[in-house]
């Protein structure tokens, strides 16, 4: 075993102290992105190796968790090379317009206050299923914002896009999740199908220009 220089050893120790608490977050994210425990482990390992190599570029005092997640996201994108293609579908002209009225009022009520543990477990399962049906990009958005509770600014840094884009991508991802959830939940009889009107979706562009006029 070659002698480690003191500098290398100190840096290594610091890295381990900082990275160890983030392992569950990295793995959770990796598992959701790759959908495979084997691939997830490889992805986390590659992420840590890259992070360690780039450690001198990490700015002390900034968010280490966000920094690690950014490296992991890049590693994932580089390896699978799918995200950019999906993002085009997701944000581009093929994107399904999503308004605020995806869910009926009755569905909403059924999902807002699940009654009893059995109901909660059932909904949890359906959320998982709905989540799995999302694209890579949408899954990443929901994970970063709803599960990891990162700020839009941090998410923007991680996925490498402006904050406004985070907002619209996140909105779209959540609406997709809700739409899918409603379909499953209604089919299973967890919630009743609402007979009240579903509001017309507002095209995002129209809304943006209207908002731009206002401001």
């Amino acid at each position: 075993m070659p002698r480690k220089s003191k500098k290398v050893a100190a840096e290594r120790e610091l890295f381990e102290v900082e990275a160890r608490p983030q392992l569950d977050v990295l793995y959770s994210m990796a598992l959701r992105l790759t959908r495979s425990p084997v691939d997830a482990e490889d992805l986390v390992q590659d992420t840590l190796v890259r992070a360690y190599r780039f450690y001198d570029r990490f700015e002390a005092g900034t968010n280490f968790k966000a920094w690690l997640l950014r490296i992991q996201m890049n590693t994932f994108v580089n390896r699978y090379r799918r995200a950019s293609r999906e993002r085009q579908v997701f944000d581009g002209p093929m994107a399904v317009p999503v308004g605020e009225g995806v869910m009926s009022r009755a569905s909403m009520r059924g999902l807002t206050d699940p009654v009893g543990d059995a109901q909660r477990r059932l909904i949890a399962r359906e959320i998982n299923r709905a989540f799995e049906e999302l694209s890579d990009d949408a899954r990443a958005m929901v994970l970063l914002a709803d599960v990891e509770e990162l700020s839009y600014k941090e998410i923007a840094d991680i996925v490498g896009c402006p904050i406004g884009t985070v907002m619209s991508r996140l909105h779209r991802a959540r609406k997709q999740l809700q739409g899918s959830l409603q379909n499953h939940a209604v089919q299973l009889g967890i919630i009743e199908e609402g007979d009240d009107e579903v509001e017309d979706p507002i095209p995002l562009e129209a809304f943006r220009s209207r908002k731009a006029l206002k401001s």
Partner: protein, 264 residues
Amino acid sequence: MSCKLVRRHLGALVDGELDPATQIEFERHVEGCPGCQEHFAFEASLRQQTRDSIGGVHAPEHLWGRAIRRLDEIDEAKAEHTSLIHVRPMRWRQTWPIAAAAAAVLIIGAVVGLPESTEYQGAGMLQDVMNLHSQALPSDVQAEAPQEVARYFQGKTPFPVKPAQFEEPSMKFVGARYIRVGTRPAAALYYNHLGHRVTLLVFQSPEIMRNAQHTHVGGRELHYYDVGGNVVTIRQHGGVNYAFYGDIDRPVLFQLAANARVAY
């Protein structure tokens, strides 16, 4: 203030990500609007349920250990590289993205000057020995006749160097090169075994046998080291060490090394 506007930004509102003025304005609207209140409650509740349903995944126990071992390898590589290079124009960290260029620097470093350290032995030296093979330096002498090779090394090394003789006709001698292991002169003999490179390093390092593992192959005792997933077998005759290693499977290598005639 329209309900549509508020509901369009409900996600950001629940996240508290609107600019402060808008955030306050929207919250005020929600307080006084039962419809938006319901939407708000749903959005917040679903957020919580999503977190509970999808979050809470724990990494497998062994994952951290696995990652740590990879980091160890990086540190070891770093330590090796710094011990090899006399003049370092760049820090290792900065050189890694241009790995190819860095590797070229290392090769030059390895040949031009190895550190004159009394502690230079064991793992560090073995890694260098291993590197000499992976670098595949060109031969100084490419001769068929063993005596030409022996003549080439006369006066260069303090011990006679002759190509080893193998029982296996599949072992072909390719060439030889004068090198240094640490500060000591040595000879690298290159062979080809069914398309795979095998290196025989002839050098002097009496202490190297001390920590070697040993086994018996065909009634002959054979010493060897595991070096980062590779195996280096070492024999010692008359104060000279003969290290065999290469891109071949361990049992084949053991067989070749054990049966080779080195001092004749």
